[in-house]
Symmetry: C2
Subunit: 230 residues, 2 copies
DNA sequence: CCAGATGCAAGAGCACTGCTCTCGTTTGTG
DNA sequence: CACAAACGAGAGCAGTGCTCTTGCATCTGG
């Protein structure tokens, strides 16, 4: 490893880097992404603000680092929930993963807003966020895959006008799954985050009270819409 | 009206106010909410930045004014689409309104991000945004109401654990609709914006290509999930 | 009809931001 | 051991939101 080969230098660099990310994450949790200030981070760390630019070339680069970490943390939460639900039926596993995603979002609202709210830096999401961002999606695909293997998946009806697009998506994303499953799966994926975003961003204020129950029910219906049974 | 009673003074004030909002909206469309700068707006209008504070006490107040306008514009687009679809069945009317919402969002991405992305100012949405924000929702409620009147609404099944919450929501939001309709309606409302947000914020990049078809299909399924028929 | 109150625009200024450049110092390596 | 690379600190630039004061235009009560 170059980290050990180059010795103490690289080690110190890695430590400072994570220290910066940690205090930045702290400020993010308190004030939100808009208020995150490089100078404030440097101040809290007792270093000059200019020194920080040795580690992150710009504020947006710090933010994208935090974005990747957030995607990874959320993906890990989803995977953990899935692992904890082995043995259960596919619908229940699906619902459990959905609830884990929601729980993580409620526990880390600003980090969630960072990745599923309006894109803050420039406009285009950097390419290196892609693998981390796809982790949650892969969990859902995995559930559908297992259900298919265990014959617990009833292929939903798919209108003719969507057949080509569904085949394209399936080829790109999960070639072993029937297109008629991939299409509603992707839609369900987006709709799931719609529910969470509405709750988190206050659109359910004075509308929905028992949000956990509403969410569980919606997640259940999404699972069945994908074709999961039992 | 006090605007005519107080004469030219109030008239000039209203003109300057809308001029500020208009150029601010222009900057918003180009650079996004994060980059919106009071000084830049003042510069473009040829006035001192301090003069702007006579019209909006703070940057966040300007933003909330733009938020209300955006909610109203979106609501108007939804209502117009609904009016243009009179005579069609409830499902088709629902889909048309959904597509109108999506079209507006695609045409005004930054304004959409302002109202349905991460909340930018502080955290709590000011109370005066509520009436404007509920306009789109009212359109959907109106469709369900009309469908109920015309006997084109099949009450969906509702699990027992959701019965109380659904009754509460119905009483608050649409007392004349059956709770078993209101609950999935609210969920569909959030899921609809999940689809739009994912498309607009780039989460469908390299995943969904024919987004219009995907959206139309999802909207159709949401309509049927609410109980609309025909 | 005209004095005084009120609304308004402009400028200076404060504290803050992201970011760049330069200048010593430290540290790892040929 | 010398040299190059990495590093930290400071000054400085352009920009921001926002406040305060000053002077001018406008509306209004006597």
């Amino acid at each position: 490893m170059s980290s050990t080969a180059h010795g103490a230098r690289a080690r110190a660099r890695a430590e400072v880097t994570t220290a910066i990310k940690d205090t930045a994450r702290g400020q993010l949790a308190q004030e939100g992404a808009a208020k995150l200030s490089l100078r404030a981070v440097a101040r809290e760390l007792g270093m000059a603000s200019s020194a920080l630019y040795r580690y992150f070339p710009s504020r947006d680069d710090l933010l994208t680092a935090l974005i990747i970490d957030a995607y990874d943390a959320l993906g890990e939460a989803a995977e953990a929930a899935h692992d904890a639900a082995t043995g259960a039926g596919p619908v229940l596993r699906w619902v459990r993963v959905c609830e884990a995603v929601r729980d993580w979002a409620l526990a880390h609202p600003h980090e969630y807003a960072l990745i599923y709210g309006s894109p803050v830096p420039g406009y285009a999401a950097p390419q290196d966020t892609v693998p981390a961002a796809s982790r949650v999606g892969r969990v859902f695909i995995g559930i559908a895959r297992a259900a298919l293997r265990e014959a617990e998946l009833a292929e939903p009806a798919l209108p003719a006008e969507l057949r080509d697009e569904a085949a394209r998506m399936a080829a790109d994303v999960a070639p072993d799954l029937p297109p008629a499953v991939v299409a509603p799966l992707v839609a369900a994926w987006a709709q799931l985050f719609g529910l969470i975003s509405f709750e988190l961003f206050g659109h359910f204020h004075r509308v929905v009270e028992d949000r956990a129950a509403m969410f569980r029910h919606a997640a259940d219906r999404l699972a069945r819409g994908v074709g999961l049974t039992v």
